[in-house]
Amino acid sequence: MIGVVMTGNTPYYTVMHDAFSKTLNSMLPAGKKVRSIIQKPFPDPIALSNAARKLIAADVDLIVTYGSPATLAVINEDSGIPIIYAGVYDPEAIHAKGPEITGCGYKVHLSSLFRHLRTLKPIATLSVVYSTLEEDSVRQVNELRALTKEQGVGLTQINVKSIRDIKNIDPKVGGDALFVTGSAIVNSWIDEVMAVFKGNRPTVVSIFPDLAEVGFIITLFQSPEEQGEKAAAMVVRVLQGEQPKNIKPELLKNTELVFNLKEARSMGDINPINLIAEATRVIK
């Protein structure tokens, strides 16, 4: 039996888990099945910690985690149960290491996403939506802060810890563009975030794919499916007796750049030719 802790109920991790389940079932020997207990707590440290403890109490054989907050919560319980993570942003930065830990993380070059955005329109002020409840989201804001400072661009931070925070967002703070971090909370409520700016629709870019189809103009991301598949392959190896410490963690680099030309056209006077040329996919 395996336990699964997902950071919130985010489409990105859901797609990852679907790919994980499909791959796991296809890789298991004929007739063998693996039961799983799935936890999708709100990405609050206490809720995540409780979810981890429930799985430990259920005596699962290993725990699969999606996202940094869930991974950190399970690591902190120090249960000795093997942990396979996926969807962790830059795992080295959170020291997701140990004899019983391995997995598949990702890294998106925020500078690249910002560069693509600036080829589309001049950016004097950038707004970033994140959550201080999620450390990976905070790391991304820190990276953006350094980047925007270096390039003389203003940065407005919008911290979302609850649905009430979204209601309190001033629609005027959208700036020239809105950067959506890989926060599970923000991405779970992305429809609500976008609704705030209704009528004054900002240019939105993100490091998660636009799974909710809310109209992100540029997304630079790593495939959630590939991470789920890689995590499943690692789980099979552990179930077959290999130690996690002997399974090399992976950092995905196969970035996808998706440009939503349809949304971009609604912005008016833009020059999208470079983005059309560089995008791995153009939404028309």
Binding site: K107, H109, S111, K253, T255, L257, N274, E278, I283
Partner: protein
């Protein structure tokens, strides 16, 4: 995730764009190819990153050359590097503005000869190949490239394929398919740069002129990339003509190109095509490429 159909749609759009570029982008009034009676010259041009800007720039050059030469000069932008070698005869081209690799091959295969080299705004008729990575990749040498991904530009480029192959060979890598986890072709020098910046590939190569132009436009690019190796200088763009075109036509064309800086109109055209001037080209300018081809072709 967006449906696969969108990916297919994009691929189809690119394909159609390529065909359109090849079929429709003949810049200048319609005429037949050069027929030894001075009626017209059809000159091929290899594609740049932004094909639309390129078409406009070369339209101005075609008009200028037609007027000065007294014969109809048309320029046609090819769909990709190397396409020219395949299509030269079927398109009945009289010559082409060629990058160094295609030029070297065209001398052998198509009986072309170099006439004039374009001198860029940095007062340089030559470019170098750069092999580069992201600084945060930790890759500084060939041995650290094993198992990583590499993006080339096109098999028909010196800076974007021939040079990196030579460098890899000289650093002990003979089989790129086994050494790298993945290799791909970006289709343009600028795209190879963005592929590495975005993380689509760990290692990339491109010509120095495009690399430096991108950094001038956006200095943050230079701060994020590290150049691992540089090739010797090779001619960047050379006008090559068929050997059987009458010598007086070639000489007149060379003279017109060389004298563009002496008239206001000529300078204006040069400004539009982002060049300082044209200078005479010779076979010896391509000696370095022949040596590189020799190294790569060695078993």
């Amino acid at each position: 995730m967006m449906p696969e159909s969108m990916r297919v749609f994009l691929a189809a759009c690119r394909h159609i764009l390529c065909i359109l570029m090849f079929v429709l982008v003949v810049i200048g009034p319609s005429a037949s190819a050069f027929d030894n009676s001075g009626e017209g010259l059809l000159i091929g041009v290899e594609p740049e990153h932004n094909i639309f800007e390129q078409i406009e720039r070369y339209r101005i050059l075609a008009e200028y050359l037609s007027k000065e030469l007294g014969i109809n000069v048309r320029l046609t932008v090819m769909s990709r590097y190397g396409e020219l070698l395949k299509r030269f005869k079927s398109r009945r081209l009289d010559g082409a503005f060629l990058s160094s690799y295609t030029a070297a091959m065209a001398f052998k295969q198509l009986n072309l000869e170099p006439v004039a080299m374009a001198v860029n705004l940095k007062d340089n008729a030559f470019s170098q190949g750069y092999l580069f990575t992201r600084k945060d990749s930790g890759i500084t040498a060939a041995k650290e490239m094993q198992g990583k991904s590499i993006v080339f530009v096109d098999p028909a480029t010196t800076e974007g394929y021939l040079f990196p192959l030579v460098w890899l060979r000289q650093n002990g890598v003979k089989d790129k398919e086994r050494y790298f986890s993945r290799f791909s072709f970006s289709g343009s020098h600028a795209s190879a740069i963005f592929a590495v910046l975005d993380g689509k590939a760990d290692i990339g190569c491109a010509k120095s002129t495009v690399y430096n132009r991108q950094i001038t436009k956006d200095p943050t690019i230079g701060a994020e990339l590290r150049i691992i190796a540089e090739s010797a200088a090779v001619p960047e763009t050379t006008l090559c003509l068929k050997k059987d075109i009458p010598g007086e036509v070639k000489q007149k064309l060379l003279a017109i190109l060389e004298k563009m800086t002496s008239t206001e109109r000529g300078r204006s055209v040069l400004h539009n095509i982002e060049l300082l001037r044209f200078v005479k080209a010779g076979d010896s300018d391509f000696d370095g490429i022949a040596k590189m081809i020799e190294i790569v072709e060695k078993p």
